[in-house]
Symmetry: C2
Subunit: 104 residues, 2 copies
Amino acid sequence: MIARTPAPPYVAVVFTSVASGDAEGYAAMAEAMDALVAGQDGYLGHESARADGLGLTVSYWRDEEAALAWKRVGAHLGAQRLGRERWYASYRVRVATVTRDHGP
Amino acid sequence: MIARTPAPPYVAVVFTSVASGDAEGYAAMAEAMDALVAGQDGYLGHESARADGLGLTVSYWRDEEAALAWKRVGAHLGAQRLGRERWYASYRVRVATVTRDHGP
């Protein structure tokens, strides 16, 4: 469940969202996006959790270009629009460069 | 619930954990650390969610020095040790520099 990322540097995109309460179609779209992102060039993995209406998804990428290319994929653009219009009361996207990591 | 961070650059520490199933003392410690971190120099906020045993906490800092100083606070070192020994089956810490962000 923890993404197996390579040695830094690589890119992390932190997506934080507050659910609107209207989740119609969300689960199916999330599943479709999970399947689609897995085949993206430069995709390294992602981690996700949602509790008490707050969602955190961190996706990992080889570089900023790979992260930007995913942002621009047609089906993903549609998902982003539905997110803004329907599923999320608010959200924030932060693009970051991972410089160090550690764990057991 | 979404942290109000300043314009980039700033530092994000992504802490991903898998729960061990032994949560004794965890809630009280999490509450104590929430109170303690709020007073740390350079602390900008944090976001946290746990679902299906996977936890994600992203904390935001003015710079790497501020993030490192928090890592070394005595009470936090004790919490980290209990995490490794008791609460987490696995975890990963990633330190990143946020270069861009956007949202509504």
